[in-house]
Symmetry: C2
Subunit: 306 residues, 2 copies
């Protein structure tokens, strides 16, 4: 039994209205595996980096119990690098630099010790690489979650549709749900997307929370209203990692458990944005996470007699 998370492990340089960073460790698999590690102790990553990573950066993952056997290190090559600048509203950003480097010809190798995988998180990457990971698992996992983005819809829609067919849960934002379905109403968008393969659809709405669609059921999760969003980088990956980490811990796939998984994922994401990069989600205590989850409970609970 394990949870595999595939995605980028990379360097980011981030500028927000609150300040800017040099190259810091980022990437979808980094955020997602750190988040998942708060709920589940058999998190294994598949990713590729260059030899520009410090051993201490990789140790940061190992110290949280994350298995890095599937992390390829390419000698003489450089890691994926992204640099971006957020606007004042923190809801939009400009990409300043994208250097694919090792990601350009990433061939995801699944170590034999990973073949006990029951939960699979396909973090944002080329749809073809995501498919490759599924095909290299000898047994289909119990739950496959796919995170993707509008970029792949723009340039590789056919490949992406193939990947979407193969998964159980699709997690995208509201703009992407509209683009993928051609429907403005999120209810209609969800109806269409749920015919494309996934049995569950999560629509992430940032500061407005998230929606979970399954059959004719909908769950609306709030976002925690925050006085300050310091750096939104990685919040979506942290959400997805917390989501699947909680599902792996619970083990049973159903709508009710996914509702809770969304709350746990949202709680982790609400920590993520409080500091630059992964800083805040490196060292949370169990009590901090539990208290944050209870804030979500208070925030959205009300009692009306039927």
């Amino acid at each position: 039994m394990s949870l595999i998370i595939i995605g980028t492990v990379a360097f980011d340089a981030i500028e927000t209205p609150f300040g800017k960073t040099e190259k810091i460790v980022g990437g979808a698999a980094t955020y997602a595996s750190l988040a998942a590690s708060y709920f589940y102790d058999k998190v294994k990553i598949v990713a590729v980096i260059g030899d520009d990573f410090q051993k201490s950066d990789i140790d940061t993952l190992s110290e949280r119990g994350i298995d890095t056997e599937g992390l390829q290190i390419k000698a003489g090559e450089k890691s994926f690098f992204w640099s971006g600048k957020y606007h004042n509203d923190m809801n939009s950003r400009d990409t300043l630099v994208t250097e694919l480097n090792v990601l350009a010809d990433f061939d995801p190798v699944i170590p034999e010790s990973y073949q006990d995988c029951e939960f699979l998180m396909l973090g944002n990457l080329t749809p073809v690489v995501q498919q490759t990971v599924i095909s290299r698992l000898k047994k289909r996992p119990k739950l496959i979650v796919l995170d993707t983005m509008n970029f792949w819809m723009d340039i590789m829609m056919d490949d992406l549709l193939e990947t979407i067919k193969m998964v159980d849960v699709l997690a995208i934002n509201d703009t992407e749900a509209r683009q993928l379905s051609g429907e403005y109403s999120l209810v209609k968008a969800a109806e269409k997307i749920l015919t494309m393969g996934p049995k569950y659809l999560i629509i992430k709405k940032g500061e407005h929370g998230a929606l979970l669609f399954h059959e004719d059921k909908i769950f609306s999760a709030p976002a925690l209203p925050l006085a300050e969003v310091f750096d939104p980088t990685g919040a979506g990956d942290t959400f997805a990692g917390g989501f699947i980490g909680y599902m792996a811990k619970i083990g049973t796939v159903n709508f009710n458990n996914m509702k809770n998984a969304i709350i746990f994922g949202s709680a982790l994401a609400s920590f993520c944005v409080e500091k630059f990069g992964t800083e805040k989600i490196l060292n949370l205590t169990e009590a901090e996470v539990a208290a944050r989850v209870q804030e979500f409970v208070s925030l959205s609970s009300f009692t009306i007699e039927a």
Copy 2:
């Protein structure tokens, strides 16, 4: 004991991607009083119209038990008229025509029979007219709710700030909360606004639901995801009317009751947008309203053990 609702009773001509109407009955007090009438049976309106209204239009209100003694009819004058066209996303609109007509010199007269008012809804109008209503009530109501809009912030901020000082609950949308406070974060905006007079702040976020702020507490209410929004006109007024109608029915002002009032208001608003104008909220059954409220319960409930 009664609930007074002040606001416009007017004609609207509406164009949406789904069609257009001739002049139909609209106005903040119309929507709000109809919504409130589903929860409370002593709803009284204060408004002004010209003699261009049909008696049957006024009967529509009376048939729902709404007291129209405070509805002034100005002979030889025309009612307030607004015409607007919604864009394809239904979230933005252009105002095509605004004719103030009788509203230009509206002097709100409070009938003696209205002096038992315990709940007061100040629908969107000139801040000075809203103040006049408060000053003409011999006894301060138990709860005063103020609905306003960016228009008054643009041209009469000082008057508006005076009115805001006098009320218990302010209901505005997210853009307006940012404008009023000068803060982008809604948490910071709410902190500032709660020092301006109101003890409660409702921030309406349309398709993203609503937030209620009080002291250090926050409640996040979902919006019902809808397959089709046919006509958003009056949804905010319907929400406010349902909110205060429920509060008047319950009678006790506290945070928990207001959470439920927001759900009841949201439920009424979700009906409002399903047809043009007031059509859908003229003839709902108790069972329909109760079923819709239960949809909100299902939509947002989850169970996490502490």
